[in-house]
């Protein structure tokens, strides 16, 4: 449990900062001031201004909002869809469920970035397209994990007991089965959020994700590339923010996995005692 504290705190801090962005009294992240383009840091602009004279610190914090909204929205949608699919497929075990589960696997035949680019070609870039394509990409992961876990749980005595007590099927699924498979699904959720941040920033970096002038770390790195010689620091800030966020998410994933996986928890326990 102690290993969980530090990464959880880090992630919570980043999320809080992003949530509090409107309350911090920051300069408007999209307001341009071309006369002061690439201005060095000062008391009013702690990290200076970018190639259009926009405040870098403000864009950095508002950029966290963009990244996290896209990442959490797509991971949550994928989690709901995938979990429902896996749950139903494993519980009812009909041919329909197996087919639905198998068909989500087809998504795994495509390299993720390429599938995203195909959808962007069709729908045009933007935050909505990103959320749509990222949720589709993560559904198979959730469906697989839930399916496997529910198959193990459905035969256990307490599920049988709930059935014998006359609980309705939805009640058994939601109140008995789901809480007992929640651990691995939570791990999968944290993995999906981390992967979504990476993909969102990558596509925005290529100019095919979030549409300018919205603040986004990927777009900031893309913009800083053009002024690499005059203002190398402009590149460093968003890179650091992105890496720190992903590192915190990854550490949280690892810690969650250790807590959720009974085998490694047992190993930990036996080592200590």
């Amino acid at each position: 449990m102690r290993r969980l504290a530090l990464p959880a705190l880090l992630v919570a801090a980043i999320v809080l900062l992003a949530l509090a962005a409107p309350l911090l009294g920051l300069t408007d992240p999209v307001r341009q001031d071309v006369a002061r383009r690439l201005a060095s840091p000062s008391a009013t602009n702690l990290l200076g201004r970018d190639e259009f004279g926009r405040d870098v610190l403000s864009r950095l914090i508002w950029g966290a909002r963009t990244s996290l909204v896209v990442a959490f929205a797509s991971a949550t949608i994928a989690c709901l869809l995938g979990t429902l699919l896996g749950l139903c497929a494993a519980w009812f075990r009909g041919i329909g469920g197996i087919l639905a589960l198998g068909s989500t696997d087809i998504i795994l035949c495509f390299p993720p970035v390429l599938l995203a680019l195909l959808v962007v070609t069709l729908l045009g870039p933007g935050a909505f397209t990103l959320i749509l394509v990222l949720s589709v990409l993560f559904v198979p992961g959730f469906a697989r994990v839930t399916y496997g876990e529910v198959l193990l749980v459905r035969a256990l005595d307490y599920v049988e007991a709930a059935r014998a007590m006359g609980s309705s099927t939805p009640r058994i699924l939601l109140r008995t089965v789901l809480p007992n498979v929640a651990g691995p699904i939570l791990v999968q959720l944290s993995l999906a959020v981390a992967a979504a941040i990476v993909l969102e920033s990558g596509l925005s970096f290529l100019g095919l994700g979030v549409v300018p002038p919205s603040p986004s770390w990927g777009l900031m790195i893309r913009g800083a590339r053009t002024t690499l010689e005059q203002a190398p620091l402009l590149l460093v800030w968003p890179c650091a923010a992105l890496t720190l966020t992903i590192l915190a998410m990854n550490l949280l994933c690892d810690a969650l996995r250790d807590v959720a996986d009974p085998r490694s928890a047992a190993a930990l326990f036996s080592k200590r005692s």
Binding site: C109, L114, L118, L206, V236, T243, I246
Partner: protein, 316 residues
């Protein structure tokens, strides 16, 4: 033999499904795809241009005819022509695919060359100094996106220290030395994620296998430690490592798009990104189809390699 046939057949079916999905994608879009492809920035395109594009993409034909035409085209190696300059999509791909493949091969070999020895060493000396440092480095390397590493390396090595060229490409036949120099940075950047994943997997597999009874037996019967490592530990540890290698290739192929962009490497990424920007549908479909097929082929090869190493997989 039976196993090989079954795996090849599965891969063939998957390629067909991928082709069908890619074909269907444009029909899944709500509304008239031609109109959506032409509408840039909310401005409505004029009717004549839309009708022309519909005709061009064959969208006026019945769906099954379109599908049949598409499949016949793919089998004949005809992937259509670019909407922007009428250049055949396949010609563009055959020109640029070898350069992308070179990058992928260089990155993969580099990752294996670094990760396998490092992972084995860390697994055999768990919680030692090297294990701690290497595991920390792997966690950090995994957290930095490829385009961030690429851009920062350009800033550091090319812009600030002037040690390396910032990017570009020279044909190997023209200047072999310069070619390899330009290949080095993008290959390292592509290799980094794969190397970190392979390191972690090798470490845990070696850790797991080296505690098994059969390894103790091999040691007890007096085999040389090196032989135990090679024939008992590594041979068994390699199977999960290969699985992870295959699985990670999808991320690697996607990463290649970003890395080629950062280093101006003229592989498939350049026409792909240009096509996505100008919404040149046939070009995007052609490249996605070819790269996804490549991905499935790589997975097929890793599966066959695993089976060659591990008789239990062949029997299953």
């Amino acid at each position: 033999m039976d196993f090989v046939l079954r795996r090849v057949a599965t891969a063939a079916v998957l390629v067909c499904i991928v082709a069908s999905i890619v074909f269907l994608a444009i029909h899944l879009v709500p509304g008239d795809p031609a109109e959506i492809l032409l509408s840039a920035g909310g401005a409505a395109p004029d009717a004549a241009t839309v009708a022309e594009l519909r005709d061009r993409l064959g969208l006026n034909l019945p769906l099954q005819t379109q599908y049949a035409n598409f499949l016949i085209g793919v089998v004949h190696g005809d992937l259509g022509t670019s909407l922007v300059d009428d250049y055949p999509v396949l010609d563009e791909i055959t020109l640029r695919l070898p350069r992308t493949l070179e990058l992928i091969a260089a990155g993969t070999l580099l990752a294996i060359a670094v990760a396998l020895p490092a992972g084995t060493w860390a697994g055999l000396h768990r919680d030692g100094g090297f294990d701690r440092i290497a595991s920390g480095v792997a966690a950090f390397v995994l957290a930095i996106p490829v385009f961030v590493v690429g851009t920062l390396l350009v800033l550091l090595l090319a812009q600030t220290l002037h040690l390396m060229p910032a990017g570009g490409y020279v044909a190997f036949a023209k200047a072999p030395g310069q070619h390899l120099l330009l290949l080095a940075l993008p290959a390292v950047v592509i290799a980094k994620g794969l190397a970190a994943v392979l390191f972690r997997m090798t470490r845990s597999a070696v850790l797991d296998v080296s505690q098994r009874d059969y390894v103790r037996t091999a040691r007890a019967k007096g085999l040389r430690p090196f032989n135990v490592l090679l024939w008992h530990v590594l041979r068994n540890a390699l199977s999960p490592v290969l699985t992870v290698l295959g699985l990670h290739m999808g991320a690697l192929l996607g990463g290649t798009v970003l890395v080629e962009y950062v280093f101006n490497w003229p592989g498939l990424s350049t026409p792909l990104l240009r096509a996505v920007e100008s919404r040149d549908y046939p070009m995007v479909v052609g490249i996605v189809l070819v790269v996804s097929t490549l991905f499935l082929m790589i997975n097929l090869i890793t599966d066959l390699l695993r089976a060659a190493l591990d008789p239990r997989i062949r029997a299953a």
